[in-house]
């Protein structure tokens, strides 16, 4: 087993206010990992740092043993649903086809095989019938499945998903998690931001518990313990007072 993601001493801040402090963990290939923590804990920030979409202040990040810049085409990102313009004139199948762009390179258009592959990915998420709909004409769960299909079309080694289960119906949630488990079982690495604890044990085999700092990391059973969770979810006030004392 190779190490898929290695983060060491990561610090990220926005205009001077710290969003991530000294975060270190490693994820081996073939794991389905949940990132859990309260609102504003820096979960999305962590994914964006992994993708090199925001500047890190300090620390190292390695994807499959190399820098993210070298590994860009090996990583697919499914953004938070709120960050997408759902009125954009694009159909379901064309959205999935975007997943083939990174490997095409500049000037080249998607060919027949690329289109066929996009259809295949769409079929995996059970959305073939709605392929010609505009993406805004779908339910939240269907939208999420389309973006998962787009990630599949990128043929990555590492999947990063930001809150894929928010505003999603039960069937879609089941489809998505079963696909993610299949990906894990064939050796892909899947990291999912998830803001609530319910189903964490059923969904993930490892957890990253985050609240600006890394609270805990490891096997689900080890992390899901009341005393550990308390630290992430209830200690916000005491960490604030700590800050004030230090300052």
């Amino acid at each position: 087993m190779k190490t898929a993601i290695a983060v060491n001493g990561l610090y990220v801040s926005y205009y001077g206010s710290e969003a991530l402090k000294n975060v270190s963990f490693t994820v081996e290939e073939g794991n389905l990992v949940g990132i859990i923590g309260p609102n504003g804990a820096g979960k999305s920030t962590l994914l964006k740092a992994l993708l090199n979409l925001i500047q890190k202040e300090k620390g190292e990040i390695a994807i499959l043993g190399k820098t993210i810049k070298e590994m860009r085409t090996k990583v697919a990102y499914v953004p938070q649903r709120s960050s997408i313009d759902w009125d954009f004139p694009i159909t379901v199948i064309d959205t999935v086809l975007l997943g083939t762009y990174p490997k095409l390179g500049i000037f080249k258009r998607p060919k027949k095989i690329d289109k066929a592959f996009a259809h295949e990915c769409l079929e995996k998420v059970g959305m073939t019938e709605l392929r010609n709909r505009q993406i805004g004409e779908l339910s939240g769960g269907q939208q999420q499945r389309v973006f998962l299909a787009r990630a599949l079309a990128q043929k990555p080694e590492v999947y990063l998903l930001d809150e894929p289960f928010v505003g999603v119906d039960v069937t879609s949630e089941e489809t998505i998690i079963s696909i993610l488990k299949q990906l894990r079982d064939i050796g892909k690495t899947v990291v999912v931001v998830h803001h609530d604890l319910s189903k964490a044990t059923a969904y993930f085999n490892e957890l990253i518990l985050l609240n600006k700092e890394l609270i805990d990391f490891g096997e689900v059973e080890k992390v899901i313990r009341p005393e550990v969770l308390d630290k992430a979810y209830n200690n916000q006030f005491s960490s604030l007072t700590n800050l004030e004392v230090k300052a």
Binding site: P89, L98, Q154
Partner: protein, 287 residues
């Protein structure tokens, strides 16, 4: 006065006007799609106003106004980006500050030149006075813009729709932004004679918005928008010639009429069909 069609056969100036305004309709329609989809309508307005000092400077130096205009257009878009990235000032505010400053500078420069007729033509356009050299520069700019959009269609699509994904897989999204700003400046310059600085933004936005109401596919939207731009140009020119109206204003109003038609009658988004759908739904529910 002879009618428009006969005059078109007869007068070279009218042919040049028609060719120029058709090209302007096409390129404004095409670039306009990306402008509205990226939420940069205000930016379009800003850049078009910001070329004024460049035009004035070019007149003073006796060079083709193309160079000065492009220089000031790009400079302004860099300035806007610099202010909003390096302070807490939001993008729309920084746009407002920069373009009014550039526009005011341009007005003062032109007043110093003491030639208010030029100012009037730059601001409002006078397509019936297009010179052959200006027609050719419009055509060359037009072909260049269209080739660029064709070549980088894929990158423009993905960075407009999901810039996060584009950046994540390594597209230089900031370079694409400034590249688009440069194309926008070129389109503005090419449109100066036809619709003038003040109304260019309408040609960028109105046909694109009309097309946006009619389709769910970007490439269809681009073709529709260009087609609508051309129709507006032809109708506008017709009315401008026949009733002796300002060409820019006539073209823009023609585009507005087309927009209103789409707004009311569009099969998917139009008021009429929405109302029909609602009535049907209510009937179904009450049964």
């Amino acid at each position: 006065m002879i009618n428009f069609m006969d005059a078109l056969m007869f007068y070279g100036f009218l042919q040049k006007a028609l060719i120029t305004s058709i090209m302007v309709g096409i390129i404004c329609g095409v670039i306009g799609c990306f402008i509205i989809l990226r939420g940069m309508a205000l930016m379009g307005d800003a850049i078009s106003h910001a070329v004024l000092p460049g035009v004035a400077l070019s007149y003073m130096l006796g060079i083709n106004f193309f160079f000065g205009a492009v220089f000031f257009g790009v400079l302004t878009s860099l300035g806007i980006g610099f202010i909003s990235q390096n302070s807490r000032i939001k993008n729309d505010v920084s746009i407002g500050i920069m373009f009014t400053a550039a526009f005011a500078t341009g007005i003062i420069m032109i007043t110093l030149m003491k030639s208010s007729t030029d100012l009037y033509h730059i601001l409002f356009g006078n397509v019936l006075a297009v010179r052959p050299s200006e027609m050719w520069s419009t055509l060359i700019i037009g072909v260049f813009v269209l080739v660029c959009v064709y070549a980088f269609y894929k990158e423009l699509l993905v960075s407009s729709f999901d810039s996060t994904m584009a950046a994540a897989y390594g597209l230089p999204t900031r370079v694409i932004h400034y590249f688009l700003m440069t194309l926008l400046t070129l389109v503005t310059v090419a449109s100066l004679q036809t619709v003038g600085i003040v109304l260019v933004v309408a040609m960028l936005i109105t046909p694109a918005a009309t097309a946006y109401l009619l389709t769910n596919r970007l490439w269809v939207m681009i073709f529709l928008s260009a087609g609508i731009g051309v129709l507006a140009s032809i109708f506008g020119l017709y009315f401008s010639y026949t009733y002796n109206l300002a060409s820019g204003a006539a073209i823009v109003l023609a585009a507005t009429v087309l927009f209103v038609l789409a707004f009311v009658f569009s099969p998917k988004q139009g008021l009429v069909f929405r109302a029909i759908k609602n009535v049907r739904k209510r009937e179904l529910l009450s049964r």
